[in-house]
Point group: C2
Chain length 519, copies 2
């Protein structure tokens, strides 16, 4: 290679870079308009109030989920969006809503315990009273152990014990923001194939077998405290119980680690411990379908309006609190983003479609069902025509933290594009475009389907430490300024995607990540 | 002043310093023995278990307090201490123990709320159901407002609202240790005259008037959440209710700030909110006296054994948890200190007397009663003979944090003495002798009585942020290594005080800080 040739090549590179740059230069005037509108007349606190406080916990298929979905649909209509509706995504299972709960220690003295009914728990049908048998986590998963000790469990509460509180954790802040070094080193995280999720879901449901053995032994209920259920947070979820085919096992409780440890120590030092438990939930099988909420802002360009830019987050939550960070936050931001786009009369060229998903917590069911219904033929494992028309799907589901960047999920062609789009938001703390992938939420369903699909990089705040799936995941833990920042960036990205001459560049569709799911 | 004179003076200074130094040189061989024994065979986890888990909440005069006191007395006897007994300190009031509690939101959906009955709360006599009226903190203390709005309160729960959660607090660690700069700048803190405490107690009891107005209006119960009742901690206490002369007002609940804010927002946005509340407590007036626990290691020196070194902490607690940091921690350390001194056969010269106080949380009553019974003639306001024989009182009541130094309460003569005594503990993090004063706990009663009385400087850990008077103040939040360090230092200080040729130097007794208390 000669010097001349190198120089020519470099000039060509510069020219191409310039063309590329000018192509991807975003409409910063519109971005500024969006930002000004959000900072002056945000509706985020109001949307947050209705999705959390007013709706309550939004367990998939519960009355709370339906309250939130109905409110969102009505609100989209009020704002002037079109096609605002509840859309079934497939079979989910039972509706369950808590009606009553209490767990007290009665001996050696009366004291309330910090605990919650697990979703879809069996009812106690009145107040159960009894003493407690301890079993270690590994014993709880050991069929032989459970069967050989069955006689000890009859008429007893089963407490699955764990490790004591790690007090050294308290010397770290519960809420944090991403440092520059963290942003520069974002790793691939939780991105798995659908088949791997199905495998994990299958294994989770094996727990049912152990609970059934305990039920047959005549035990009263199963109580457990995970390592993270400490310092006032109690993490409450369930691996099964909603499917019509799920056996009804025992009443199930998640409790504070410190209370579980107290009971453990009392029993180990020879004290008589007695508890009383009341769980009353309302089950219904009147409608076992799962639902998403969808609504649209129609595209304004006759040639492009059949193409779609999607954005969303999951509306369902666990039920010990009102699921504010997980994931009202994502829904609040996405709702606010479409409100901004619509109310500012920006006339996006492509159609913008917002989707609020159900069943995410049980296995990304709502988004996955949507993808199967609209975008991929699950039998042939080939894209449907609509798949080619979705330019992108933008998702938010990592808590209430502001946006610090975006994961391109290995789609390197997007790096220069999003790098340009983020430039106007450097002053808001968002500058990172990583080709790393992240998973565990609904953009994954679209990524499997070959759609450019993105979760934003968000500040962690107290998501993992305190609120994620816990009894503290409520309105007061949201940081409104962070949600406003996110709404500004999402609205801008969605708008820019809608006016871009081309669809966003996509990775090829790979059948092997999208195998039959047994649903 | 000539050079010669200066040199002579300097030599004299050095000589005096040397004498002082050799006098105050502590018995480091014994200190090392104490340290080795504690680090090899500590009983702190066991003592902690019995005072917290087994005894339960230790509200003054409650069954839990009595369980802990009885166990401590039996344990002192088992260890071989003498005069181990329950000692009445005066009139306290009612015994109250919780039997049942539940607070649920029923509308707009059913959900348990994070809440606790206040101690000595009136019973609900079954489950109360009703809607909620909000009043602001300043309205709750405004007789005119309450009377003029009485009609609105009938049949309603009264929720005293406050400010929303301050999420920025979450970016600081909940547990901290004192930095060198903090240790170098310890300020006078909470050190007040007894008359000022009496005045404050009197004002606190004014709250009773407001609650009585609400009761007369026909309200169902009063719910409130302090600013600190957040992030899973609920701070639970009461200003009145234990005295035989206290009127029985309404059922009282302390609840999580986030739940209170949720109810407030729901009502303000026009939602119908209904709650159900059940409080059942057991009251007794069979024995209304208050009690301390005392026990002794007799002095071994015939000339000095009539003199006494005291150490102690308060045994009573609030009752939403087991009062581990406040103040089982202090009792654990003091019990372990006397166990070490006794089991090592160290033969202290002066008598060592441990006291575990009752009624501290209501106004330092146990220690103050003790001082009046033994040390000060409260009518004449003059010292009794025994006052001259108490060399010192050492107290611990700032949580589970290790000792970083000691407050001399303005007694400058003690600074060189304690500075020498702490030298062997610099490697354990304790090196600070401050002439500043601290208050809010039982050494104050002895300080008022002219006795050298000390609270140690302790690392704050999560005391103020999470556990102090809260539902999280339980065994798991204790840091055992910190308590061991404290036991080593306390045992060494008490031992050294017992063998020192003279009593510790004291400040003069001032009548003006010890005025009639109206008890």
């Amino acid at each position: 290679m000669t010097t001349l040739k190198t120089t020519t090549l470099c000039a060509l590179c510069l020219l191409l870079a310039k063309i590329s740059f000018s192509q991807e230069q975003p409409d910063t005037a519109v971005f500024a308009k969006i930002k000004a509108a959000e900072l002056s007349s945000s509706q985020i606190p109001q949307i947050a109030h209705y999705l959390t406080d007013v709706s309550g916990p939004r367990l998939t298929n519960s009355a709370g989920y339906r309250r939130a979905a109905d409110w969102a649909i009505a609100t989209f209509k009020k704002w002037g969006l079109t096609n605002s509706k509840l859309e079934p995504w497939g079979e989910f299972g039972k509706q369950w809503d808590l009606e009553d709960f209490s767990l007290m220690m009665r001996l050696p003295y009366a004291t309330p315990l910090r605990a919650y009914a697990c979703p879809w728990s069996a009812n106690t049908d009145g107040v159960l009273k009894g003493s407690v048998v301890l079993i270690a986590p590994q014993q709880a998963m050991d069929t032989t152990y459970l069967i050989s000790h069955a006689a000890e469990f009859k008429g007893k509460f089963i407490l699955i014990t764990g490790r004591p509180l790690q007090t050294q954790d308290n010397f770290n802040p519960s809420a944090t923001r991403l440092a520059d070094t963290s942003l520069a080193n974002l790793k691939d995280n939780y991105m798995v194939k659908r088949s791997e999720i199905e495998q994990e879901l299958g294994q989770l449901k094996l727990i049912q077998q152990f609970d059934l053995i305990l039920k047959r032994s005549g035990a009263l209920a199963v109580l457990s405290a995970g390592r993270r259920s400490a310092n006032g947070s109690v993490f409450v979820q369930a691996a099964y119980g909603y499917k019509l085919t799920d056996a009804q096992t025992l009443p199930q409780v998640n409790m504070a680690l410190e209370d579980a440890q107290r009971i453990k120590r009392l029993i180990q030092s020879g004290q008589a411990v007695e508890l009383s438990l009341n769980i009353q939930g309302k089950f219904s099988t009147a409608d076992t379908k799962g639902y998403n909420v969808v609504a649209e802002i129609p595209g304004s360009d006759p040639k492009l309006k059949s193409q779609v830019v999607m954005l969303g987050g999951h509306l369902d939550s666990w039920q010990a609190a009102t699921g504010a960070a997980d994931n009202a936050a994502g829904c609040i931001v996405m709702m606010e983003a479409v409100r901004l786009l619509d109310s500012l009369g920006l006339k996006p060229k492509r159609t913008i479609r917002i989707a609020l998903w159900g069943g995410e917590e049980q296995g990304l069911y709502g988004s996955y069902g949507y993808v199967k219904n609209h975008l991929i033929d699950a039998l042939k494992m080939t894209p449907k025509p609509e798949q080619a028309k979705i330019s992108a799907y933008f998702n938010l589901d990592n808590g209430s933290g502001k946006i610090r960047g975006i994961y391109t999920q290995g789609n390197t062609a997007l790096q220069p594009i999003f790098t340009e789009w983020l430039k106007p938001f450097h002053d808001l703390g968002a500058a990172t475009v990583t080709t790393s992938s992240t998973g565990s939420t609904d953009h994954v369903s679209f990524d499997w389907a070959g759609i450019p699909a993105f979760q934003f990089v968000q500040d962690p705040l107290d998501y993992e430490t305190r609120v994620h799936h816990s009894n503290l995941d409520d309105y007061d833990h949201l940081i409104m300024d962070d949600l406003k920042q996110a709404a500004i960036i999402v609205a801008s990205f969605v708008y820019q995607t809608s006016i871009r001459p081309e669809l966003l560049p996509r990775k090829p569709f790979k059948k092997e990540v999208f195998v039959f799911d047994g649903l």
